[in-house]
């Protein structure tokens, strides 16, 4: 049996590309492994099959400075069918242990994010960004730190993004992401709801066909009610005092 000739791909054997993943983060509130394992088992017993085989990041922000056997924890997690891939908010001692356990040390953490979140002070409210031209396929408009007001259509394939709310006084046919830095009170308003995707503070919904029949091509608003993204028709205001 002869050796197969080595084939070299034209584009090179390997290639690095950046990509963004959403990973579940497991926040540790104790360094006692028995407590952690028991708590985890209770969580998984609730039928959260979603996490089976899932890569997880361990957030050690709550147990910084405490001695933690990461190698043993790693094994326990794997036994529960989780795949730990890294730690964050770890102190230097824990970081060294993480490397030993074959885990990546990730930058950033919930605490840092909170510090970066926009502070809304009355005298420094950013003005809304106003766009008068259509936002076309492939274009992206971002209102940093405030609301985004669009006076022309947002076409399919276009993306409008705001730290605050998004107001479209025209058809919204593309993607709209409000509250992208975590403002759960942000809303999306459109005079004609035809969006492909809407998102508030990271809770998103894809309208594969079209938005629900009751709001399709009609004035509508989208907001967060707890964890639920609500899509609701924007009916003209009726003054209760005058309605019979």
């Amino acid at each position: 049996m002869g050796l197969n000739p080595v084939e070299y791909p034209k584009c090179g054997a390997v290639e690095f590309k950046g990509s963004v993943f959403t990973l579940p983060v497991l926040h540790l509130h104790s360094v006692d492994l028995r407590v952690v394992v028991e708590g985890l088992a209770r969580h998984l017993a609730k039928g959260l099959r979603f996490f089976e085989g899932a890569p997880v990041v361990l957030d050690l922000g709550a147990v910084r400075g405490q001695a933690l056997d990461l190698v043993a924890l790693n094994e326990h997690l794997r036994a529960q069918d989780l795949v730990p891939v890294g730690v964050r908010s770890a102190d230097p001692e824990q970081q060294a242990q993480a490397r030993e356990a074959g885990l990546a040390v990730l930058q950033g953490g919930a605490r840092i994010e909170r510090e970066e979140a926009p502070r809304r002070e009355p005298d420094s409210l950013p003005l809304a960004k106003v766009v008068e031209q259509p936002v076309r396929s492939g274009q992206q408009v971002y209102a940093r730190g405030g609301d985004l007001v669009l006076l022309a259509p947002v076409n399919p394939g276009a993306e409008v993004i705001a730290d605050g709310s998004i107001h479209v006084y025209a058809p919204l046919r593309g993607r709209a992401l409000a509250g992208v830095r975590g403002d759960t009170a942000a809303r999306i308003f459109a005079l004609s709801m035809e969006a492909e995707l809407v998102s508030v503070a990271g809770h998103f919904r894809i309208f594969e066909e079209a938005p629900p029949g009751s709001v399709h091509r009609r004035p509508a608003q989208i907001y967060l009610d707890g964890e639920r993204l609500v899509v609701r028709a924007l009916d003209p205001w009726k003054d209760p005092a005058h309605s019979i």
Binding site: Q133, P134, V135, S137
Partner: protein
Amino acid sequence: MSEIIVVTSGKGGVGKTTTSASFASGLALRGHRTVVIDFDVGLRNLDLIMGCERRVVYDFVNVIQGEAKLKQALIRDKHTPDLYVLPASQTRDKEALTKEGVGAVLDELREDFDYIVCDSPAGIERGALMAMYYADHAIVVTNPEVSSVRDSDRILGIIDAKSKRAEEGEAPMAKHLLITRYVSERVAAGEMLSIDDILELLAVPLIGVIPESESVLQASNAGVPVIHDQATVPGQAYADVVARFLGEDKPLRFLEPEKKGLLKRLFGT
């Protein structure tokens, strides 16, 4: 002052070159000195549609790279005295189209011509970007189907972001929508987007509608732009487009399904 018009679309096969050839011919037929440039380096077609492919000696890239003088590369159209064709290179890399090189050639053409028509290649790469970069007007060619309209929308966004006028904060490029390969029967049957659907999405003024017709293909194969045959529907429709571009008021026509007369109904077509 001469004006530069880019004929563009994003999507391929929608009728850019056909439109460039007829539009440029139409301007020249009205006595305006006109040149039409093929920006599709590597896949040149304009010379075929204009019926001058055998007379191509030097091309646009030769001129940009200083290997030929502009006058040597310009081909005089055999149908219309005031029309010239600047063909694309069949062999060069499209990277040969540099911003400076294209700008210099256009500046030289401006001295001699009233209208410079740039036939853009499909896509959104260098050839297409260079074709639209210096333009004063854009004719965006769209077919009544979703993917073509989406690509036109993309191109309109790029024009507003990446043209010279946009970069230098001048008045935005004038945009005109041309719907081609329109079949009124299929629109009526709901198989094609209607003009209203397209206008609602693209929000650009309509300069004309060219119905789908065999005569376009016949004209292409014969190397005579279809506008020269005023007995055909597309020929008349393109003449209307030129008139509207020059500011004349021409109502749209050929939008309704053709009414079959009694004889046709009895004997078929």
